[in-house]
């Protein structure tokens, strides 16, 4: 039996990390979740055990103390695999734990293979034109981070979960104090949108045209890193490996080539419509509908048609 520890830092119902376990373990597993209450299921769930961190004792972001706590929990239980979500906090916590346990860490795994007993972790490499298969060396535990939404478990089996609060732990005085939290003015999240109108290098300076089509389709606008890097839009709306993983029903890719890193951000998208001057661009092989031609011309014509008929 393999013992797995999963750090929870997203919605309690997010099972991406459990989905990852399915791909790399072909025997029975015992699943332990660790996290703050708001991120963990409150009743019976896929986990055998849930360990709740006391937010009065350790504040999220106090990664030094969180790391000590997780290390201690591991040393008591000797897990085979420890998984972190690539959330903003997970991204700074996982590397600390990896050093504390003297193990390797692979970031943002997008696929997993079990190859003759060896777990191969796959992630984009070398500017993302290629995918790398990575193996962990040493005695373990195996550690990796996975972006929320990348994997989904096929079978979900409910267990009678043992939920425990972690007591008896004395954190060191925190060197980080939270002073204030402010909501940003715009809180729309491209991950919540059913339809995304996404622009890339082919629309750059005409990016504002996308808004028109988005309004007509009741959709949100997103972008490739090309557009984000050029400073035209915020990283908040970037799709891909270093942006967000999205699963809309419809994704209209306007002037996006479909690099590996971009495609990594598209999971369980039902329909892709690709508009590109080059119908051999990689994104077109993923699309149900390929429109060969200028993206801005396409937006204008389609918008006109929708407006005329509505």
């Amino acid at each position: 039996m393999k013992k797995i520890l999963i750090y929870c830092d997203t919605k309690p119902e997010d099972l991406s990390l459990v989905g990852a376990v399915e791909l790399m373990v072909d025997e029975e597993v015992s699943l332990t979740a660790i996290g703050y209450k708001e991120h963990c299921p409150s009743g019976n769930s896929v986990y055998d055990e849930i360990l709740l961190i006391d937010d009065q004792k350790i504040m999220a972001y106090d990664t030094m103390n969180l790391c000590d706590l997780i290390t201690e929990v591991h040393q008591k239980n000797n897990y085979d695999i420890i998984l972190f979500p690539s959330t903003q906090l997970g991204r700074i916590l996982a590397p600390r734990v990896a050093i504390a346990l003297h193990v390797g860490l692979v970031a943002d795994v997008t696929d997993l293979h079990l190859n003759h007993g060896i777990i191969e972790m796959i992630r984009p490499a070398y500017s993302g034109k290629l995918l790398a298969h990575i193996e962990a060396l040493g005695t373990g535990p195996l550690m990796m981070s996975v972006r929320p939404g990348v994997f989904q478990p096929k079978a979900v089996q409910l267990k009678s979960t043992n939920i425990r609060e972690l007591h008896g732990y004395q954190p060191k005085p925190s060197q980080i104090i939270l002073l204030q939290t402010r909501l940003k003015p715009s809180t729309e999240d491209i991950r919540d949108s059913k339809i995304l109108i996404s622009g890339g290098g082919g629309v750059l300076e005409h990016f504002d045209h996308l808004e028109e089509l988005a309004t007509l389709l009741n959709a949100q606008v997103s972008a490739s890193r090309r557009v984000v890097d050029s400073g035209l839009v915020s990283r908040r709306i970037q799709v891909g490996q270093s942006g967000k993983t999205v699963s809309p029903k419809l994704y209209i890719a306007l002037g996006i080539s479909g690099s590996v890193q971009h495609i990594e951000g598209l999971k369980n998208v039902e329909t892709i419509i690709a508009v590109n001057t080059n119908k051999n661009a990689p994104i077109c092989s993923l699309a149900t509908l390929v429109v060969e031609g200028d993206a801005v011309d396409f937006i204008d014509k389609l918008s006109t048609k929708i407006k005329k008929i509505v």
Binding site: L105, H133, L137, Q175, D189, C284, A287, G293
Partner: protein, 265 residues
């Protein structure tokens, strides 16, 4: 106040071209650039020095000797020292080995503030800063988008972190590791005209394995905890697809499709 900026030079991603017909990377003329977020960190350090002239700034980079001219260019700004950690033995270091080597160097010096980027454009793991913080036992925050200049002398820094939908303000005791994000409003100045060709070689220090109390097997491929087994180009699952153009018939097809699938009411 002593500030160390950890900086990395990366291949200019815009230079990467992929030949889809032959399935190969075209690597010719690949230019090395300073990771943009690391430039933001250096720019912030320079701001601090303007406010508090007693500040010293050291750049630390682990990489090949080919980046020396780039380091010298930076040294022509108001920076005190650059340290290049470079040895063929270090080639192949994963983030575990890299952070260990850099932390070994930093451990020997009294530093108040270690500034980094949140992530690099090429590797994009964002492991190294948090790992160094752990090796050194220091607090760490990333996605820092501003640091309050007035708080700097107090042994406690006030700063804001861009946390997705929120902005969070923290107070952190120093020494600390802070990773800046690209959106932070600090920009590198230009080198003064009279300094363009200034000889700065005296302020550039190079270190190799023998300068560290680390063994050969602690660094490079041997000292790494992960190993790349193979790389390959992604093959995309082909969809059965409809192909049209942007002429009237094509737009009609798209329109009908959207209507048919219920995307248009």
């Amino acid at each position: 106040m002593k500030i160390v900026c950890l900086i990395k030079f990366i291949p200019d991603v815009e230079d990467f071209k992929y030949d889809h017909e032959r399935n190969v990377l075209i690597r010719e003329k690949m230019n090395q650039i300073l990771n943009p977020e690391d430039a933001v960190a250096v720019a912030f350090a320079l701001n601090v020095k303007k406010y508090y002239p007693s500040t010293t700034i050291e750049l630390v980079s682990m990489g090949p000797q080919s980046i020396i001219p780039k380091l010298e260019e930076l040294l022509r700004l108001d920076l005190d020292q650059a340290t290049l950690i470079t040895d063929l033995a270090f080639v192949g270091s994963d983030t575990y080995a890299t952070s260990r080597i850099i932390a070994h160097y930093l451990n020997k010096h009294k530093v108040d503030l270690i500034l980094t980027g949140t992530h690099t454009l090429d590797g994009d793991t964002s492991h190294v800063p948090a790992q160094i913080a752990q090796w050194l036992g220091l607090p760490h925050l990333s996605n820092v988008n501003s640091i309050h200049m007035n708080s700097i002398d107090l042994g406690r820094l006030e700063l804001s972190v861009d946390h997705d939908q929120e902005i969070m303000s923290f107070a952190v005791s120093t020494p600390a590791v802070l990773s800046l994000q690209k959106e932070a409003p600090y920009k590198l100045p230009y080198v003064r005209f009279e300094d363009l060709n200034k000889d700065v070689s005296e302020r550039l220090k190079m270190l190799s394995l023998k300068d560290f109390d680390l063994k050969r097997e602690d660094v490079g491929f041997e000292g790494s905890k992960t190993k790349v087994i193979k790389t390959f180009a992604q093959t995309l699952k082909k969809q059965t697809k409809i192909e049209v153009t942007t002429d009237e018939a094509g737009i009609q097809t798209v329109y009908d499709y959207l209507k048919d699938k219920g995307f248009l009411k």
